[in-house]
């Protein structure tokens, strides 16, 4: 559709250097790059409105230099970043002007076809209700849609957009990009758009062109273009790329780097508050958590942690709701709280705290082994939620990778299994060695600052600390539980 070969373009001096790429028909093609990287210049060059362009640009095989201005305008339309509105032109007139490239004759009257198409595109962009209003009376977002209608009235095969969502609020951004994507899928409209928002580009574009100082840095699918090395190099700032929570597209964010006075040591066993009814820990700042808790499981940032004791016979349809009320009763801020519950006496909690030169580790375990289960024979048990038992909290003052979270989870679990085995705890149903209880919960929480901890496996720096600490705490907590049982409580 669009073929660009060895393009050099600019104003007083070249901004684009030796650019070559092609855009396919029906493709949604995103152009990314920092300010001054030549995005707008590229759009102008393709559009043929920039003088002094060297290299070849062809639209459907025809060099644009051999096309008249009107021919070019019938092939492609532009939605610019800024609009000049100096007179009170009505919306309808504005949209009709998009039919200019099709005008013939000296006095240039609109034909019925022109009116029909104007009507159609006003409908598509949702500006029909403003048709008799002046452009000056519209908001920025409404104007943007009017100019989109104007561009679409040109009936172009190619639409060039310079930051199409610049003046739009969130919902119109989405609406507009959805509509563009839909047109490109349905009618084969080729869309070339400049984006500042990497995430929008990632979600909507088929391919991305990343420009850096007028040169192609990367030209590929979003998954490949949006990687941390490329982005951080081009934008000269820290940018993190994650998996998008709900789509198979990369998701980026910048990393703020202002200085804020933060407490030196974030984790301290002194902050732990144990009473007969619950164990409560409040961190000095939010921690990135990954857990199988009842209240707020999964990934999230939390700073309050509560482990509430419930009765053996506790049955509840809505355990999370119950924990919310409990947490509130104990003065927690619900949205910042991770909550677990246990049937074990929380006073028997066992705490391990260790500091080394790289990071600090705090492990808190409450244990009850009443409904111990051998993982191999889970099917022998009646499916029933019995109030749970071994709750393990692992707090780490360090910067954990996502991999480290998964590995720490494994390490903590392995340590727990080993502790139960060494305590000789058996599955009461099968009589074999228990590997845990049916309702165990685990939490891995990181401060995400300080030392970077890439790995959490058993022999990694982190794993070497987590493993023994969890093992010791679990064993101690289980021993206290067993003692209390023997004492007849």
């Amino acid at each position: 559709m669009i073929d660009v070969q060895h393009l050099y373009a600019g104003y007083d001096h070249d901004i684009l250097h030796d650019l070559s790429f092609s855009v396919l028909k029906g493709e949604m093609f995103g152009v990314l790059g920092p300010n001054g990287s030549g995005k707008t210049t590229l759009l102008k060059a393709i559009n043929g409105t920039l003088p002094g362009v060297r290299g070849d640009i062809a639209i459907q095989g025809r060099p644009i230099t051999r096309m008249t201005a009107k021919e070019t305008a019938r092939e492609m339309a532009v939605l610019p970043q800024h609009h000049d509105v100096s007179f009170s032109t009505t919306v309808e007139q504005t949209v009709l002007i998009g039919r200019y490239p099709y005008q013939k004759g000296l006095f240039k009257q609109w034909t019925n076809e022109d009116y029909r198409i104007a009507e159609e595109v006003m409908e598509q962009t949702g500006v029909t209700q403003f048709r008799h209003q002046s452009l000056l009376s519209l908001s920025g977002g409404e104007r943007q849609r009017v100019f989109l209608a104007q561009a679409l009235a040109q009936k172009p095969g190619i639409l060039l957009l310079d930051e199409p969502t610049n003046h739009l609020d969130f919902s119109y951004q989405k609406q507009m990009l959805d509509a563009l994507k839909q047109w490109s899928l349905k009618n084969g409209l080729t869309v070339v758009a400049i984006f500042h928002d990497l995430n929008l580009a990632s979600l909507y574009c088929d391919r991305l062109l990343l420009l850096d100082q007028g040169k192609v840095k990367a030209l590929e699918e979003p998954e490949i273009v949006l990687n941390e090395q490329h982005l951080s190099a081009v934008y000269r700032s820290d940018i993190h790329v994650h998996a998008h929570p709900s789509f198979s597209k990369p998701f980026t964010n910048v990393v703020p780097s202002f200085n804020e006075d933060k407490p030196k040591s974030i984790l301290s066993p002194d902050e732990l508050d144990v009473s007969k009814e619950r164990v409560y820990y409040k961190s000095r700042q939010p921690l990135k958590c990954y857990s199988s808790a009842v209240l707020h499981p999964g990934f999230g940032w939390f700073e309050e942690f509560i482990n509430v004791q419930v009765d053996h016979s506790f049955r509840c349809d809505d355990p999370a709701g119950y924990l919310m009320t409990e947490a509130e009763r104990w003065g927690c801020q619900i949205h910042r709280t991770v909550g677990m519950m246990t049937a074990a006496d929380v006073e028997d909690v066992s705490i391990e705290f260790m500091e080394n030169e790289d990071f600090t580790l705090l492990v808190v375990v409450t244990a009850g082994t009443g409904n111990a289960v051998d993982v191999v024979h889970g099917s022998s048990h009646i499916q029933e939620t019995v109030p749970g038992t071994i709750n393990t909290w692992v707090f780490i003052d360090g910067h954990l990778s996502e991999q480290a979270y998964a590995q720490s989870l494994m390490t903590a679990t392995e340590a727990k299994v080993r502790a139960l085995m060494d305590m000789g705890i058996n599955d009461p149903v099968t009589g074999t060695a228990a590997t845990g209880t049916s309702t165990d919960s685990v939490l891995i929480a990181g401060t995400q600052q300080g030392t970077t901890l890439e790995y959490g496996g058993t022999i990694s720096k982190l794993g070497r600390a987590v493993g023994p600490a969890v093992y010791k705490a679990t064993k101690e907590a289980a021993a206290r539980y067993l003692n209390r049982k023997e004492d007849g409580f």
């Binding site: 559009n47 305008a73 339309a77 000049d84 002007i97």
Partner: protein, 354 residues
């Protein structure tokens, strides 16, 4: 849905044109009718009709004195006023559209100063070009006007390659002052011709006769036609040159077409009548308000209404302090400035929606 819309659209346009034509015809009749000897509309109709259709015998039986007053004195004056008013209004509209600035008028860009320098130089030096004869003053004046606009544009290009609106206007102001000083210089050096120059500068369409109508007519027709052909391009250019280029408008060409057509009109108007202010600023504004800013219609409507406005202004100028006469420029400014002020105030009060 579509048909009724087109119908109302056309109906609107028809009303606009009918109204404007009626306004013009009414002004012509009123302008011809009032004066030291009042003449009935019927007599005017019969005499003009007799002139336009010589075989209809419409003018038979009318007073030959009235015929002489109408055909030799009042009508040429009214027609000249109409042509000048139309030319100024339409070039004002074109300049405003081209420069995307509602405050532009043919004079702020220095065209009129150029035309004035040419005209005053002709009066001051008493020259007569061999090929132009009695056309010397307007020919020199128009040439000077066209030269001025191209010097202004060339200078603006030199300053700022993108030729932004602000640059062109600032350049126009610089040239206006610069050329104005030439006029002052010639005035201060002149002896005999002072009154002639001052009269010319104050603006008047009186005592010109059909010769001057013949003088301005070709420029008027040419200029207005050129502008009518560029209506759609002007519409596109109100969204900015860049956008116009994207829409397939040959911007460079159109810019020069509009600038030269508007300069020819302004130059011709200034040449035959002197500098008459405010018509070129206020009439396009009022027309935009009343009829919308579609230049395809705005241009002819500005011609009609500008003509009618100046005919009425001239009528006031010659009747308000009879038997003497006010300079027409004084009258247009006296009416135009408060009208413009009122529009500005209403615009502010009306907020964005007006």
């Amino acid at each position: 849905m579509q048909k009724p819309f087109i119908q109302t659209f056309l109906a609107n346009k028809t009303t606009h044109y009918t109204g404007s034509v009626l306004f013009l015809v009414f002004s012509i009749f009123l302008g011809t009718s009032l004066g030291s000897v009042p003449i009935s509309f019927e007599a005017i109709a019969r005499i003009i009709g007799g002139q336009l259709l010589p075989f209809s015998h419409m003018s038979e039986g009318t007073d030959p004195t009235l015929q002489a007053i109408i055909l030799q004195i009042r009508l040429p004056r009214v027609v000249l006023a109409g042509l000048v008013g139309g030319a100024l209004a339409v070039s004002g509209a074109a300049f405003q559209g081209l420069l995307k600035n509602p405050l532009a008028d043919p004079y702020t860009l220095g065209v009129s100063s150029g035309a004035s320098v040419g005209a005053v130089a002709v009066l001051f030096l008493g020259i007569s070009l061999p090929f132009a004869g009695s056309f010397t003053l307007p020919v020199v004046s128009i040439t000077a006007a066209i030269c001025t606009i191209f010097i202004v544009v060339g200078f603006a290009r030199l300053v700022d390659r993108s030729m932004s609106m602000t640059t062109i206007i600032l350049t126009g102001i610089i040239f206006s002052s610069f050329l104005g000083s030439f006029i002052s210089l010639m005035i201060s050096l002149t002896g005999e011709e002072l009154r002639q120059i001052i009269n010319w500068l104050l603006g008047s369409v009186g005592n010109r006769g059909w010769d001057y109508v013949h003088l301005i007519l070709p420029f008027f027709v040419g200029g207005v036609l050129l502008l009518m052909f560029t209506g759609q391009e002007l519409n596109a250019m109100t969204f900015g040159e860049e956008r116009a280029r994207q829409l397939g408008v040959h911007v460079e060409l159109q810019k020069y077409v509009v600038l030269s057509a508007a300069s020819i009109l302004t130059g011709a108007a200034v040449a035959v009548s002197g500098t008459i202010g405010f018509v070129g600023l206020v009439i396009p504004h009022i027309c935009r308000k009343l009829f919308g800013s579609d230049h395809r219609h705005l241009i002819p409507l500005c011609v009609l209404n500008g003509s009618a406005f100046l005919i009425l202004a001239d009528l006031l100028a010659r009747t308000i302090v009879t038997p003497s006469e006010l300079p027409i420029g004084v009258v247009t400014a006296l009416i135009g400035a408060p009208m413009f002020a009122a529009i500005l105030i209403r615009r502010r009060k009306g907020g964005r929606s007006s």
